[in-house]
């Protein structure tokens, strides 16, 4: 709490490296944990069970088990979710609230992951995530993926993508959004995936890239089938019916949350009921014809 206030007040700049990790202040916190997740600091010889609200430092290693996940909330509001069967290390984190910029680098050795950039990361995260065979530059986005055997399992039966001959560190990366037509203030997502000396840019939500192994070039972009996305999602998200963690239920939140209308109406931002019949109509906006209707160039007899 002290750190976050300090950082957000603009008096602190976190510019840290793994070598100096031991004395560093925390860069985030364990926000949510599901099932079996262990962590250790860079200098620790052994893993320990992860604890909610425990601080996260540069160099921390996260290891998760089957059907397990950890969400890390970083001080720049970025969120890193480590999914099932994963091993992830935060290698670098830079946050300068004075300049409104941040940068992150994390390496995923295996398993599933999901990353949502904070508002200050845009344009800075050139090498935000790396796997054994690829690096992912983030231009403000939601990106998720899987490394190793999970990547191959997710891609089973994916049209146009062969996993035959794939080796260690095979990596699947999916851009999830925000899409071009999102109606929030978040920047549309885009990532640059580099592997085997080739960089592939992905700018459409739902598109994926696959790298089969060391030295191999990216395959894609392509769209994951619903069945394959379901497998990836199962490594990162819970399902209704999964066991809870013992926290009290919120009850019927629909009456004030989902049903607020603001959430229900996806056209709430950007909808157009204006009187203008020409100037402001984008190609997909809804316009209800209405007065005034101006007939230009008239002056004759009806």
């Amino acid at each position: 709490m002290t750190l976050i206030k300090l950082a957000l007040s603009g008096t602190a700049v976190l510019a840290l490296s793994i070598s100096a990790a031991q004395a560093d202040p925390p860069i985030g916190t364990n926000a949510a944990i599901r099932n079996s997740v262990q962590t250790k600091a860079a200098a620790d010889p052994a893993l320990h069970p992860a604890v909610v609200r425990a601080p996260v430092h540069i160099g921390d290693v996260v290891v998760s088990g089957d059907k397990s996940a950890l969400q890390i909330l970083l001080v720049d509001q970025s969120v890193f979710t480590v999914g099932a069967n994963a091993r992830m290390t935060i290698d670098k984190f830079v946050y300068d609230p004075n300049r409104g910029s941040s940068d992150i680098a994390a390496s995923v050795a295996k398993g599933a992951f999901r990353f949502m950039s904070g508002p200050t990361l845009a344009g800075q995260g050139r090498n935000a995530i790396s796997s054994p065979v690829a690096t992912i530059g983030v231009r403000g986005t939601i990106v998720e993926g899987a490394v190793g055997s999970d990547a191959l399992a997710v891609l089973a039966g994916q049209p146009g993508v062969s996993t035959t001959g794939s080796g260690d560190g095979a990596t699947l990366i999916v851009l999830r959004g925000p899409g071009h037509t999102n109606n929030g203030f978040d920047k549309p997502g885009a990532i640059d995936v580099t592997a085997g000396g080739v960089t592939v840019s992905v700018e459409h939500a739902g598109q994926a890239v696959f790298i089969g192994g060391p030295g191999q070039q990216p395959v894609g972009p392509f769209y994951l089938t619903d069945a394959n996305f379901l497998r990836l999602s199962g490594l990162l998200r819970t399902q209704a019916g999964d066991g809870g963690t013992g926290l009290p239920q919120l009850g019927d939140v629909g009456s004030a949350g989902v049903n607020s209308g603001d959430n229900l109406d996806p056209g709430a931002i950007g909808d157009s009921y204006t009187t203008q019949t020409g100037s402001f109509d984008g190609p997909i906006k809804v316009t209800v014809p209405s007065r005034p209707v101006i007939v230009r160039g008239g002056g004759g007899e009806p």
């Binding site: 969400q71 739902g206 819970t238 629909g254 931002i269 209800v288 004759g300």
Partner: protein, 438 residues
């Protein structure tokens, strides 16, 4: 009838602004610091998600909801909220998967209705072919029913007498979109709209216009564009008046998520049906109003917040005509402000000023080189029927039916013998939206 429409407008406005005030007090702000300190507090995360979603910061909302669902997977309402956020983030595949994840759950009737509604919307949007539209019907009263139309018919300085008129207003619009590639960033589109006013009291002031657009559009990370053909037909007093046919191109550029620059160009040929004018051709004058019209507009749209948007534009219109005194140049200025009041309700105000400078002295009809100043304004408030229910949502047809009240003002002044006019109008109508309306 005019008093009835006015009373209805006032009642609608009062009710909607009361809804907005209630919504403002309902949301207690939850800061990021609060969440960072207690990220496993489900209630705080939900409050934070609501506030961030309402402010348009959807990534923050999504991360808070994901925290809740990791810790408490059986929060069906939260999962449905998560569906809505993913949908707004344009992650349709993710939203569908989360809906599927709700299948084994027992939902309240309203939750089930909303889930079904999202499932249908997502299916529509993932389809390569999209269809949407609206139908509207209502009543209008004008203080000077013939005033706006007299712009079209004022010959020799004559202007219709000022009379109150009541009319039935109906309109409809359909739009079809066919994606041309798998990314959905190139599409063919077609749209058609019709607007009709039929007098039911006062002077006959019927008019009808139809418009058809066909073309292709494309989009990138920060841009979108469209180019296509346009056809319009106008009928005044149940008789053909004008047909326009030509092309239109538009380009939008959004350097950031708040700001969009807009440029458009339209060029159309004009064919008037005016036998009275034609009988002087070629005996007294060299041609008619027939010619071409070109319109260049440059504008900007700025989102002041997630609920407030301002748009403005400047433009230049140029018309040629067979009889050269009918040709003109017309710079104009548009402005519009829209705010969302919660529950799908909206308030919209806008207007236009247009200076029409006719190019040549009219020696036959008016004996003057005509100059007009034309101004219009419209203020509207509307809301879906669902916003009048306690939860501001019903998950059914009531969310697609909007009641709208509007006040319009039109005025023209002119140099020379043409009389000035003004008209104050009130309108109440029901609008039914259908198809994929995003």
């Amino acid at each position: 009838m005019s008093h009835g429409i006015l009373r209805s407008l006032l009642a609608l406005g009062s009710a909607l602004f009361a809804l907005d005030a209630g919504a403002a007090f309902a949301d207690a702000p939850t800061s990021f610091e609060t969440i960072y300190a207690a990220p496993d507090d489900l209630a705080q995360n939900l409050a934070y998600a609501r506030a961030e979603a309402k402010a348009g910061r959807l990534l923050n909302a999504a991360s808070a909801l994901e925290r809740i669902l990791l810790l408490s997977p059986n929060e069906n309402g939260v999962r449905l909220f998560y569906v809505a956020v993913l949908y707004r983030l344009d992650d349709l595949q993710g939203a569908k998967q989360q809906l599927d994840a709700l299948d084994p759950s027992t939902l309240t009737p309203l939750q089930k209705a909303e889930a079904d509604r999202y499932r249908a919307r997502i299916a529509d949007e993932r389809n390569d072919f999209k269809f949407s539209g609206n139908l509207a019907a209502g009543l209008a009263v004008d203080s000077n029913a013939l005033g706006p139309l007299s712009t079209q018919i004022d010959l020799f300085g004559l202007t219709a007498p000022k009379k109150v008129g009541d009319s039935v207003v109906t309109s409809g619009q359909v739009e079809l979109i066919q994606d041309l590639n798998s990314e959905g960033d190139l599409a063919a589109f077609g749209s058609a709209s019709i607007y009709s006013r039929q007098s039911i009291g006062g002077p006959d002031a019927d008019y009808l216009n139809t418009q058809v657009n066909l073309g292709i559009n494309g989009s990138g990370l920060k841009t979108n564009w469209e180019i296509g053909a346009v056809f319009r037909d106008y009928q005044l007093f149940d008789s053909p008046y004008l047909a326009e046919y030509g092309g239109r191109a538009a380009f939008n550029w959004s350097p950031n998520t708040s700001l969009t620059w807009i440029a458009s160009f339209e060029g159309v040929g004009q064919s008037f049906h005016e036998p009275y004018v034609k009988q002087f051709v070629p005996t007294f004058i060299s041609g008619t109003h027939n010619g071409a019209r070109y319109d260049l507009t440059v504008g900007v749209s700025y989102r002041l917040s997630a609920t407030d948007t301002f748009s403005g534009a400047v433009g230049y219109e140029m018309k040629t005509a067979g009889y050269s005194p009918f040709a003109y140049d017309a710079p104009f200025l548009d402005a519009n402000y829209q705010t969302l009041l919660g529950g799908g309700a909206y308030f919209d105000i806008g207007g236009e000023l247009r200076y029409i400078d006719y190019r040549k002295f009219d020696a036959f009809f008016l004996n003057v080189r005509r100059e007009d100043m034309f101004g219009t304004g419209r203020m509207a408030i509307g809301a879906p029927l669902s916003s009048f229910w306690a939860q501001k949502a019903t998950g059914d047809y009531r969310e697609n039916i909007i009641i709208e009240g509007a006040m319009t003002y039109e005025e023209r002044t002119s140099k020379g013998p043409i009389a000035a006019y003004n008209d104050l109008g009130f309108e109440m109508r029901l609008i039914w939206k259908f198809g994929d309306t995003r």
